[in-house]
């Protein structure tokens, strides 16, 4: 097991390096550098630009240096001081703008993740056991719709439905009266009252995927001989199903955890924009439209690193659950 963990950790380093390169490329993509852009914008509005300030920023980001120096200065600031740069759009350090909102985005994705697992795993097992039943057809149908409808379209439609039929204006994270208050129990409950819609929208898409995968692998496993053997040995039907085929069929679901999270996050970005939530998705959107590239780059980098961590966790979990993987790794080592 220790060998496996070490090997797995070693694989993470090039992964994170690749992600950081990708984020840096995105920062560099818009034509010209952001500083000139920013100065032009300030001059266009008639503001005076302090030459010393320009000099300070040029030095800080190494804009007069070659590309690789800029990269190392940027990544160096992040690694040593967790400094993601300065957001020109918000006129504040990127950390202030992004980190708290990112937390909220993750909270939403996490809730959606819990909801989709908690609902989809029992349903997936059930529809496999009761193949061709009404429930099977029903959830297959819902699953197809869920897969075909991206969250933001669902959000648009639900927004219309809840307004036209229920007369509720959905959107935002807090009711206006709670917005300026510090966090309290009442504010938290208000938050939950607003969160259910984005969580539900994201969870529907996630569920569709899990049910489909779980149903397919379960059906394969249920046809195998060990199931018949277990049954003939007199185990209860519940034990026959839960103790053996489910343990195997659950593996692909666990190994897909990272992809599911990535997926929730991906769809979540647009859903958050549509529902006008004060989270990281809209920040990225506005930053991109205004070419505030340090914010955008930080967003991509943080996501990428968290996903590497996520996939590490899901691999370790998989190794803990499935002894075959541990042995496979030991033989290889």
């Amino acid at each position: 097991m220790l060998n496996y963990i070490i090997g797995r950790l070693a694989r993470m380093i090039p992964q994170i390096f690749l992600v950081s390169i990708l984020a840096f490329i995105i920062i560099q993509l818009p034509p010209g550098d952001f500083l000139t852009e920013q100065i032009n914008r300030l001059r266009a509005t008639g503001a005076t630009v302090d030459e010393a300030e320009i000099q300070r920023l040029t030095n800080m980001y190494g804009l007069d240096q070659p590309m690789y120096v800029q990269y190392f200065r940027w990544i160096g600031n992040i690694v040593t001081r967790l400094d993601f740069g300065y957001s020109f759009l918000w006129q504040r350090p990127v950390n202030d703008v992004l980190l708290s909102r990112m937390g909220m985005t993750f909270f939403i994705a996490f809730l959606a993740f819990v909801v989709s697992w908690g609902f989809a795993i029992p349903v997936g097992i059930y529809v496999a056991v009761k193949q061709y039943s009404f429930a099977d057809y029903f959830f297959t149908f819902i699953g197809f719709i869920g897969l075909a409808t991206p969250g933001f379209l669902l959000a648009l439609v639900l927004m219309y439905v809840s307004y036209a039929i229920l007369g509720i204006r959905v959107g935002g994270l807090f009711s206006p009266e709670f917005e300026p208050q510090p966090m309290s129990w009442a504010k938290f409950m208000d938050l939950l009252g607003h969160l259910w819609l984005p969580v539900l929208i994201l969870a529907i898409a996630g569920m569709a995927n899990i049910i489909r995968t779980l149903r397919a692998t379960m059906l394969d496993e249920l046809r195998k001989q060990y199931v018949t053997v277990a049954r003939s040995k007199g185990l209860s039907e519940f034990q026959v199903i839960m103790q053996y085929p489910v343990r195997i069929a659950i593996n692909p679901i666990i190994s897909q955890t990272t992809y599911l999270l990535a997926w929730l996050f991906s769809g979540g970005t647009v859903v958050e924009i549509v529902l006008n939530l004060n989270t990281a998705g809209p920040v990225l959107w506005r930053a991109l439209l205004q070419q505030d590239m340090y914010t955008a780059g930080a967003y991509i980098l943080i996501l990428g690193v968290l996903y590497s961590l996520g996939s590490l966790l899901s691999d370790l979990l998989l190794a803990a659950i499935d002894p075959r993987i541990r042995f496979g790794a030991m033989e290889a080592a």
Partner: protein
């Protein structure tokens, strides 16, 4: 199965593609089955998949619209009918005010203003009937930029100097006909996926091929890159890349670059399929036999290994088209992909971004229905193809 069997043989799955035949011809049927080529078998199995066949028919219809959009659309999609902005979907009548039956017709509309909200409201004027007819002359167009014409598939028959709108899905805030725009939008939205998939196909085939065939370090590097790309949320990345495209580019250039951006992450899945298949096929006896026969490496790959997984490639290509359609829609919807005056389903949805518009003019959401339908149909088609292409599933 023997011909001496006295009763009519049970129909097997390979018979389902054919008409039922009287008994006693089982021997011939076996012959056709055993002699059938790979694609014949796939086709027979595919015909059993009803949903996939429906999907193929619907998609066929969609692409007919894509090809003949100028003729099928009732109006020019860029033409603004200023007197008929935000018009709700037109009502086509069969009964007139007196209750007698006519061929389908519409009434002329009178525009008024709501005294409170000042929004335009339209009242039908039941004095004159305007019949809806096929092959009606209307807006001038040039089919594929080549053939001039003015006949549209359907429209309202009127005197040359009067205009009565037939906006089956309503009109947008600028007074464009929604239906015509959806048809022309299909031209962009449904081809982004196809072109993107072709690009992804080449990247996936080359990189997956290198990884699978040469193995070793090349394999390791390519697979790590794929791992990273697969684990990243695509939409934020697509957004970041697309936002860097200059706003002043010509439409065609932006379109082309958006497809490239969409395929940057699309090739990974295909590359995995290609690599996995190459690795397993490399161990097959018939590949060994070909090698012993002195065939060259290129021959082995193209003549023996490639046919072994063409069907898988087709399936994963079909299944990745919907992702690209959704990608284009999301990007254009957010204003970082295609921009007006380009018409695509995502661009059309830009108008439906806020609750106000959605609540008052819900027909602006019609492109949503078309996006979902197209994506659903591609998924059904892909599923049907997957079942049909898998030789181990009967």
């Amino acid at each position: 199965m023997s011909t001496a069997h006295p009763t009519t043989p049970k129909r097997k799955w390979w018979d389902f593609g054919k008409k039922s035949q009287p008994g006693g011809e089982a021997h011939e049927k076996d012959e056709t089955f055993y002699r059938a080529g790979q694609w014949q078998l796939v086709w027979w199995k595919f015909r059993r998949h009803k949903l996939a066949q429906i999907a193929m028919a619907v998609l066929g219809l969609f692409y007919l619209i894509v090809i003949f959009a100028e003729f099928i659309s009732p109006y020019d999609p860029q033409k603004r009918f200023k007197d008929y902005s935000t018009l709700p979907p037109s009502k086509v009548h069969i009964f007139d005010a007196q209750g007698s039956i006519h061929p389908p017709f519409v009434y002329a509309l009178k525009r008024e203003r709501d005294p409170v909200t000042l929004r335009p409201i339209y009242k039908e004027d039941p004095t004159a009937l305007y019949p809806v007819a096929l092959f009606v002359p209307g807006d001038e167009y040039k089919l594929w930029g080549l053939f001039a014409g003015n006949v549209h598939l359907f429209g309202v028959k009127t005197e040359p100097d009067t205009f009565v709108p037939l906006f089956l899905l309503g009109s947008d805030t600028l007074g464009h006909d929604m239906l015509s725009r959806i048809f022309f939008g299909a031209r962009i939205s449904l081809t982004v996926g196809l072109i993107g998939v072709v690009l992804a196909f080449f990247m996936g085939l080359v990189l997956g091929g290198i990884a699978g065939f040469f193995g070793g370090l090349a394999d390791e590097i390519i697979m790590r890159v794929i791992d990273v790309l697969l684990a990243l949320p695509t939409i934020p990345l697509w957004m970041s890349l697309a936002a860097a495209l200059p706003q002043d580019w010509p439409q065609l250039k932006t379109y082309f670059y958006v497809t490239i951006i969409l395929s940057i992450f699309g090739w990974t899945i295909l590359a995995r399929v290609v690599r996995g298949k190459l690795l397993s096929l490399r161990e097959e006896d018939y590949v060994m036999a070909a090698r012993l026969d002195g065939e060259s490496e290129t021959q082995i790959i193209t003549r023996y290994m490639l046919p072994g997984f063409t069907s898988y490639i087709i399936v994963s290509l079909t299944l990745s088209i919907p992702n690209m359609i959704l990608g284009e829609t999301s990007l254009s919807f957010l204003g970082v992909g295609l921009r007006p005056p380009t018409i695509s389903w995502g661009v059309m949805l830009q108008e439906a971004q806020n609750l106000q518009t959605v609540a008052q003019t819900p027909w602006l959401l019609w492109p949503v229905a078309f996006v979902i339908l197209a994506v659903l149909m591609f998924n059904f088609l892909g599923d049907g193809l997957r079942d049909a292409a898998d030789p181990y599933v009967t």
